[in-house]
Amino acid sequence: MNFNLTEEQHMLSDSVRRFLENECGLATGRDNKSSDQWAKIAELGWLAIPLPESVGGLGGGAVETTLIMEEFGRVLAVEPFCAIGVVAAQLILAADSRQAEVLLPQLIAGNFRPIVAHHEHEARGVIEHVSLQANAHGDKWLLSGRKSLVVGANAANRFIVSARTDGDLRDRAGITLFSIACNAPGLQQNNIRLIDNRWAAELIFDNVEVSAMNVLGEVGEGYRAIDHAYAHGLLAQCAEAVGVMEQALWITRDYIKTRKQFGVALNTFQALQHRMAEMLIELELARSVVYRSLAFIDAPTDERNAALSLAKIKIGQAVRFVCGQAIQLHGGIGVTEEYSIGHYFKRAMTIENELGSSHFHLAQLADLELRKSVAWVRE
C-alpha cells in the first residue's frame, strides 16, 4: 500500500496540468464546436496512457486516468477525454477484443472519436435501463428510440449506441451495442449546452439502419461492457471532482486572504476559517474514496460497483458542499458568470447528477445493507 505517485505519475500530472492551464481555459465550450485541442491531446499520448499495449496503448490503467481527470477538473476543461478516452475506449475494450485492436489505435491517434450513446431519460442511474429498440430486418438492424445526455456528442465522429434486441426494459440480457455514423439517415441530433459549458446531445433514432457488421461484441451481450465502461467513467468523474474541489478551495483561500470587509481581511474571521477547514476535510475524504475505488476497480463486479457507489455518494456530497461554500465565501462576486468560482459549482452539479446522483447510489448501498445477514455483520 503506497499513496505516493511514481516519478512517471508525477510527470504525467505535471504535464497534463501545464497543457490544460495553457491551452484549455475556463468555459471554452460555449460555442458548439468539436474541440480544437483534440489532435494535440492525442499527440500528447494521454489517450494511449491508460490502455493496454495490445491495442497500442502504453499499459497504464485507472490510476493514470484519475491523475489526468483530476487535472481536467482543476481547470474545468470541457474536452471529452472522459467520454472518448475512458468510457468509449473501455467500452470497446470490454465489448470486442478483435474490434478493439482495430479501433483503439485510431482512437489513440485522435482520428476516431466515438461517443457512447447509452443514457436515457428515465434511467436515473440504472445502467441496464435501455428502451431504444433494435429490430432485426434481414441482415440489418433498425434502431428506433431516443438517447439523451450524450455528453461530448458534438465532438463525435461515431456513436456507439446501446439498444435492446431482447428482454424487458431493465433486463441485463438483451442489450446490444451498435456502431453508427453520426450522419446516419434517420438519426436526428439535437445539441444542447450543459450548465458547465460542456455540450451534450439528444439523439432521436427513427428506423436507423445498421448492418450486422457494426454490432460491437455479441448480440444481446452488451451489458457487461457497458457496466465496465461506466464503472471506469464514474471513477474518472470522481477524480475530476477532486480536481474541481481542490482548485475551488485554493481559489477561495486566496480570495479571502485579500478581500476585506468591516475593515479587515475576510480570512481573519474564525467562522470563515472553520468553514474552510471543513472544506479541506471534505476534499481529503473525497480524495480518499477515489483511492479506495482504485483498489476495487478490478474487483468482482458487485464489490466494484459497491465501492463506486460509496465513492460517488461521498464525492457528490463533498463537491456540492465545497463548491457551494466556495461561492458563499466569495460573496456576491461568486455568483457572477464572469468570475471563475461559480463555474466550479456548476461542474459540481453536473458531476452530481450525471451518472446517478449520490441519493441514487445511497439507495444502492442501502439495498446491500438489507441483504446483509446477522452472520455477515458478525464476521
Binding site: 434511467a123 436515473r124 458563499q328 456576491g332 455568483v335 447528477n353
Partner: protein, 396 residues
C-alpha cells in the same frame, strides 16, 4: 393566544385567489412561475392591474393609495400571488423607497413619486451596495457633493437590480465623508443622466438582472433628495426593519416546493414516479417540515410588535429561508434529471415557447437555482446575520 387565522383574513385569501384566477394573464403567470427574472414589461402590466383593483401597494397606508392591510394580510396576499406565479412587483419602489418617501419626503416629492409607483409608471433600481460595501453597507464611498441646487455624484454601485430598465435609481450616497453612518443620504437619480454608465452583470444562472453603475460627475437636482440630508442611515434602517418578517421568503419557498412536488410526481423512472424512488418522499417531507416551521416563525414575526427585547426575527428568518430556497432548488434540479443540466437561455419575452427539449416545467429551474446561490449572500450574508443574532440578542 390564538392560533387560528381570523375568518376575515381567510376571506381575503379567498378573494385574492379568485382575483388572481380571473385577472392574472396566463402569459405573465407562465414566466412568473418559471424562475426566470421578471421582465419589466410584465411587471408594468401586472402593477397596472393591481392598481386598478386597489391593491397597488399592499404595504402602504390608505392615505397614500395603499391597502392599509395588516402585516398578516400582506403576507397572505404575497403568498397567493407567489403560488399563482404572478410577476414579482417592484421591490424597490414599493418596499424599499415608497415607505421612505411617504414617511420622510417632502409633500412635493410624495405627490410626484407615489402615484407613479402605484400605477406602475415608475420603477426603481436599488443603489445600495458598492464593491467594498456589501454586507458592510456603512462602508459605502459614492459621494454626493452639493453644487448649487444640484448634487454632483461620483462613485460606483454594484448589484443594482434592474438599473438597465428602471426609471429611477434609489441610491445611498455619502453627503458627509467625515462621518460614517451619519453622513449618508437617500438620493433619487435618473439612470439616463449624463455621466452614468451601466455595465451588466450576468449571474451564474446566465440571467441578467444585476448591474454595476458608475457615476462620473452626475448632476442630480437637490429636489431629488429624500427626506433630510445625512439621515439616510436612519431611513435605511427603517426600511430594513419593514423587511424583517418577510426575509424568509416563505411565499417564494412555497411556490418552489409546490413546483418540486409537481415535478417529482410528473417525472418518471421506468414507469414509477420519481417521488416513489427511495428517499425522495422523505426528503420532500423534510423540506415541508422546515418550510412550515419557517412559516410559523414568520407568522409570529408578522403579528408580534417589534421592540427592544424582541427576537431578531429578520436575521433568524433570513438564514433559514435562504438555505431552504437552496435546498429545494437543489432537489428540484436533481428531480429533473438531464433537464436540470441543460442551459435554457433566459427568454426575452414573457411567453416561453418552443424550448429545444424537455418538459415545460424544466426551463428556468436551474437558472433560478443558480441565481439563488446568492440568497445566502444578498440582503446581508448569513454569516453577518448570525453575528447580529449573537451580538444583539444573545449579547455575546
Amino acid at each position: 393566544m390564538d392560533f387560528q387565522i381570523d375568518p376575515a383574513d381567510e376571506a381575503l385569501r379567498v378573494e385574492v385567489r379568485e382575483f388572481l384566477r380571473t385577472h392574472l394573464p396566463a402569459d405573465l403567470a407562465q414566466r412568473g412561475a418559471s424562475g426566470f427574472h421578471p421582465l419589466r414589461a410584465d411587471q408594468r402590466r401586472w402593477q397596472r392591474i393591481l392598481f386598478e383593483r386597489g391593491w397597488g401597494a399592499p404595504n402602504w397606508p390608505t392615505e397614500f393609495g395603499g391597502t392599509g392591510w395588516s402585516h398578516l394580510r400582506q403576507f397572505i396576499f404575497d403568498e397567493e400571488c407567489a403560488l399563482a406565479g404572478a410577476p414579482v412587483t417592484d421591490h424597490g419602489g414599493l418596499r424599499m423607497f415608497g415607505p421612505v418617501i411617504y414617511t420622510y419626503a417632502s409633500s412635493e416629492l410624495k405627490a410626484r413619486l407615489l402615484p407613479a409607483i402605484l400605477r406602475g409608471e415608475l420603477f426603481w433600481g436599488q443603489g445600495f451596495s458598492e464593491p467594498n460595501a456589501g454586507s458592510d453597507l456603512a462602508a459605502l464611498r459614492t459621494r454626493a457633493e452639493r453644487d448649487g441646487d444640484h448634487y454632483i455624484v461620483n462613485g460606483q454601485k454594484i448589484w443594482t437590480t434592474g438599473a438597465h430598465t428602471c426609471d429611477v435609481i434609489g441610491c445611498l450616497v455619502k453627503t458627509n465623508p467625515e462621518a460614517k453612518q451619519r453622513g449618508i443620504s437617500f438620493l433619487c437619480i435618473d439612470p439616463q443622466s449624463p455621466g452614468i454608465s451601466i455595465r451588466p452583470i450576468i449571474d451564474i444562472g446566465e440571467g441578467y438582472s444585476l448591474n454595476e453603475v458608475f457615476f462620473d460627475n452626475v448632476r442630480v437636482p437637490v429636489d431629488n433628495l429624500l427626506g433630510e440630508e445625512n439621515m439616510g442611515w436612519t431611513y435605511a434602517k427603517a426600511v430594513l426593519e419593514n423587511e424583517r418578517a418577510t426575509s424568509a421568503e416563505v411565499p417564494l419557498n412555497k411556490r418552489k416546493l409546490a413546483q418540486l412536488r409537481e415535478i417529482v410526481q410528473r417525472e418518471c423512472s421506468n414507469g414509477e414516479r420519481v417521488i416513489d424512488l427511495p428517499g425522495f418522499a422523505q426528503r420532500v417531507a423534510q423540506l415541508e417540515v422546515d418550510l412550515r416551521a419557517l412559516e410559523w416563525l414568520t407568522l409570529r414575526a408578522l403579528t408580534e410588535k417589534s421592540g427592544g427585547t424582541s427576537l431578531p426575527y429578520g436575521s433568524l428568518l433570513k438564514v433559514r429561508g435562504s438555505e431552504l430556497l437552496q435546498r429545494i432548488g437543489e432537489m428540484t434540479v436533481e428531480a429533473l434529471g438531464q433537464y436540470g443540466l441543460y442551459v435554457y437561455a433566459e427568454p426575452e419575452e414573457n411567453t416561453i415557447t418552443a424550448w429545444p427539449m424537455g418538459p415545460d416545467y424544466a426551463p428556468g429551474v436551474t437558472a433560478d437555482f443558480m441565481y439563488r446561490r446568492a440568497a445566502t449572500i444578498y440582503g446581508g450574508a448569513n454569516e453577518v446575520q448570525r453575528t447580529i443574532i449573537a451580538r444583539s440578542f444573545l449579547e455575546l
